[in-house]
C-alpha cells in the first residue's frame, strides 16, 4: 500500500499519477478463514479492521453481495453525534465519535471528518424538558453537550426561522464536536487498511446459506462456492433478518426504507447540522454546497431502497418552514436505504443461538456515526467473547426486558 501524503502527491506527479496502484486488492476467495464477516458496509469493515489491529487476527474475509459501501454506509446523511440518553449508548457512540477525531490519521485516508457542531431543535415544551434531561445525562457520562437558548440558535444558524408557522424554536441541544464525515471515504479507508493487513474483501459475492454442525457455525455458502470459517460475523443492516433466517433464528428487527435527498449546490449558508425532530426533518450543507436533507422512515416493511413519496413531501414541508430560503431550491437526487429497526431503537451486538456466529445490526436510522466504536466493540466480542462496549447490547435484553430505550431521545431518523 502506498502511503498518502503531500510528498507522495508531488512525487507521483513526476510520473503523471500513473503509479498509485489499487487502494484494495481483488482476491479470489480461499477455502477457509479464521473469521468471515458478511457485509462490507462501514460496520463490517471496521469490525475486520479492529480484529486485525487490536487482536492480530488477519486471516479474515469480508464478503459483500454488491460493492463495498454500497449499502446504507453510502446512502446516509453522515451526521455524527453522541448525545444519547442511556449510559451504554453514550459509551459506544462517544467511543465512535472520539475515534472519528483521528480516523483520517489512523487510516492514512482523508475521511473528511468535520466537527462543525450539531443542533437538535426543541420545538415543544416536551422536547425542551427532554433535551435538558439529555444534557444533564451527557454531563454525567462525560459527553460534552449543552442546552442553548433561541438567541444562540439564531447566531449559529442565521438562515433559521425561529417563529415557524406551526412550532417556534424554543432552544436546542448543542454538541459542538458533532458533525459530519464523508461516508464513502469511511468505507474506503477501512477497506484499504484491511486489504493492507492481508484480509480478503470479496465483492459481488452473496452469502446464500449459513452452514452449521451440532449447533456450531462451520462456514457459509456463497455465489462463489462454499467457504469454511471458525467464526462468523454477520453485519448486513437491512438484510439481518434474511441472514438470521438462513441460520434458523428470528430477530427483533423490522426492515424499512429511509430516504434522503440533496439539492443543487449553493453558496455556503449553513455551517452546522440542524435536526428538527418535531416537524420531522434535518439538514446540513455538504462541502460541494448541496443541502443534504433527511426525514422519516416508511411505516411498513420493504426492501426496495426507494421509500414512499409522501415522506419526501413531509420532510421538505418541515424544512421550508424552518429554513424559508430553501423553498426555491431544486432537488437533484433522492434515494433510499433499508434500515434495520429494533423495538428500543438501540443496536444489537451479540452472540447468537448458533455458536461461533455473531451479529451486529439494529443500527436502524443512525448507525453511520457509530461505525468506529461499533467495529471496535464487535471485534473484541468476536475475539474474546465479550466486550464492555457491547455487553449491554445483547439479543437477550429483549427476553429479559432490559431495554436501552432511545426512542424518546431520537424522535427522527438520522
Amino acid at each position: 500500500m502506498k502511503k498518502y501524503s503531500a510528498f507522495a502527491i508531488a512525487k507521483e506527479a513526476l510520473t503523471y499519477h500513473k503509479g498509485w496502484g489499487r487502494a484494495w486488492a481483488k482476491p479470489a476467495p480461499k477455502s477457509h478463514y479464521d473469521v468471515i464477516i458478511v457485509g462490507a458496509g462501514g460496520h463490517g469493515l471496521a469490525t475486520a479492521y479492529y480484529l486485525g489491529r487490536n487482536f492480530g487476527i488477519t486471516n479474515v474475509a469480508i464478503i459483500e453481495k454488491g460493492w463495498l459501501g454500497g449499502g446504507n454506509t453510502g446512502r446516509n446523511t453522515t451526521i455524527i453525534r453522541s448525545n444519547y440518553l442511556q449510559d451504554p449508548s453514550a459509551a459506544i457512540y462517544e467511543k465512535a465519535r472520539s475515534l472519528y477525531e483521528t480516523l483520517s490519521q489512523d487510516l492514512n485516508y482523508n475521511i473528511m471528518f468535520s466537527p462543525r457542531g450539531v443542533i437538535m431543535l426543541a420545538q415543544t415544551h416536551h422536547e425542551v424538558r427532554g433535551y435538558k434531561r439529555t444534557a444533564h445525562a451527557n454531563a454525567l457520562q462525560g459527553v460534552t453537550t449543552e442546552w442553548i437558548e433561541p438567541k444562540r440558535v439564531k447566531e449559529l444558524v442565521p438562515i433559521i426561522n425561529l417563529h415557524g408557522p406551526r412550532y417556534p424554536v424554543l432552544g436546542g441541544l448543542w454538541q459542538a464536536r458533532g458533525g459530519t464525515a464523508r461516508h464513502d471515504a469511511v468505507a474506503w479507508g477501512y477497506a484499504r487498511a484491511c486489504s493492507d493487513m492481508g484480509m480478503d474483501i470479496i465483492q459481488q459475492t452473496e452469502v446464500t446459506a449459513v452452514k452449521r454442525s451440532g449447533g456450531k457455525v462451520t462456514g457459509v455458502s456463497t455465489t462463489q462456492g462454499d467457504i469454511s470459517c471458525n467464526k462468523l460475523g454477520v453485519v448486513v443492516a437491512g438484510h439481518s433478518g434474511v441472514l438470521a433466517d438462513m441460520a434458523g433464528f428470528r430477530l427483533p428487527i423490522e426492515s424499512v426504507p429511509l430516504q434522503a435527498l440533496v439539492s443543487e449546490p449553493i453558496k455556503p449558508c449553513m455551517d452546522v447540522v440542524v435536526m428538527a425532530n418535531t416537524v420531522h426533518g434535518y439538514m446540513s450543507q455538504s462541502d460541494k454546497g448541496e443541502m443534504v436533507i433527511g426525514g422519516g422512515t416508511d411505516s411498513h416493511n420493504a426492501y426496495t431502497q426507494r421509500g414512499s413519496f409522501h415522506h419526501v413531501e413531509e420532510t421538505v414541508r418541515a424544512l421550508c418552514e424552518t429554513f424559508p430560503m430553501i423553498s426555491r431550491l431544486k432537488m437533484l437526487r433522492q434515494w433510499g436505504g433499508i434500515v434495520d429497526v429494533t423495538g428500543d431503537r438501540s443496536p444489537i451486538l451479540s452472540k447468537t443461538p448458533v455458536e461461533g456466529m455473531f451479529i451486529n445490526c439494529g443500527w436502524g436510522t443512525g448507525g453511520f456515526k457509530a461505525i468506529p466504536g461499533s467495529g471496535w466493540g464487535m471485534a473484541e466480542l468476536i475475539a474474546k467473547g465479550h466486550s464492555p462496549l457491547t455487553d449491554q447490547f445483547g439479543l437477550d435484553r429483549f427476553r429479559e426486558g432490559r431495554f436501552i430505550d432511545e426512542s424518546v431521545a431520537a424522535g427522527v431518523a438520522h
Binding site: G241, D245, R250, S299, N301, A302, R399
Partner: protein, 109 residues
C-alpha cells in the same frame, strides 16, 4: 404509492389514508406464558424479503382493521382480507401461489 383496497368499505385507499399495524397473525400471549413466548409475541419478527402478511387500519376512512398480503421485495399486493381470521383465506394464498410457486411464511404455504 402503496394502494390497498379496504375489504370492509371497498375503497382503494392510498397509503396516506391507512396506518400500518405490523406483522399479522401474531399469537397473543397472556398470563402464564413464559419469557420466551412473550419475547416471540412482543419482539421477534419474520421481517421477510418476499411474501408478507400484515395488519393495516383504514385510519382516515372507515376506521376498520384488516389484513393484507404483500411482497416486501417487489411491493406487489396479493390482496386484502378480513381482520377476523387466524389465517389468510384460500383466494389470497391461491393468488400468491400463482405468482410465487412454493412460497412459505411461518406455517402457511
Amino acid at each position: 404509492m402503496l394502494i390497498l383496497t379496504c375489504p370492509y368499505c371497498s375503497v382503494a385507499a392510498d397509503e396516506t389514508e391507512l396506518s400500518a399495524g405490523g406483522e399479522a397473525h401474531v399469537k397473543r400471549e397472556t398470563v402464564g406464558a413464559d419469557d420466551a413466548a412473550f419475547e416471540q409475541y412482543l419482539f421477534q419478527r419474520e421481517n421477510p424479503k418476499g411474501i408478507h402478511f400484515e395488519r393495516w387500519r383504514h385510519a382516515a376512512g372507515c376506521g376498520k382493521w384488516f389484513h393484507a398480503a404483500r411482497c416486501t421485495n417487489t411491493l406487489e399486493v396479493f390482496g386484502t382480507y378480513s381482520a377476523q381470521t387466524l389465517e389468510p383465506p384460500k383466494n389470497i394464498t391461491d393468488a400468491i401461489s400463482a405468482a410465487r410457486p412454493g412460497w412459505t411464511w411461518r406455517n402457511f404455504s
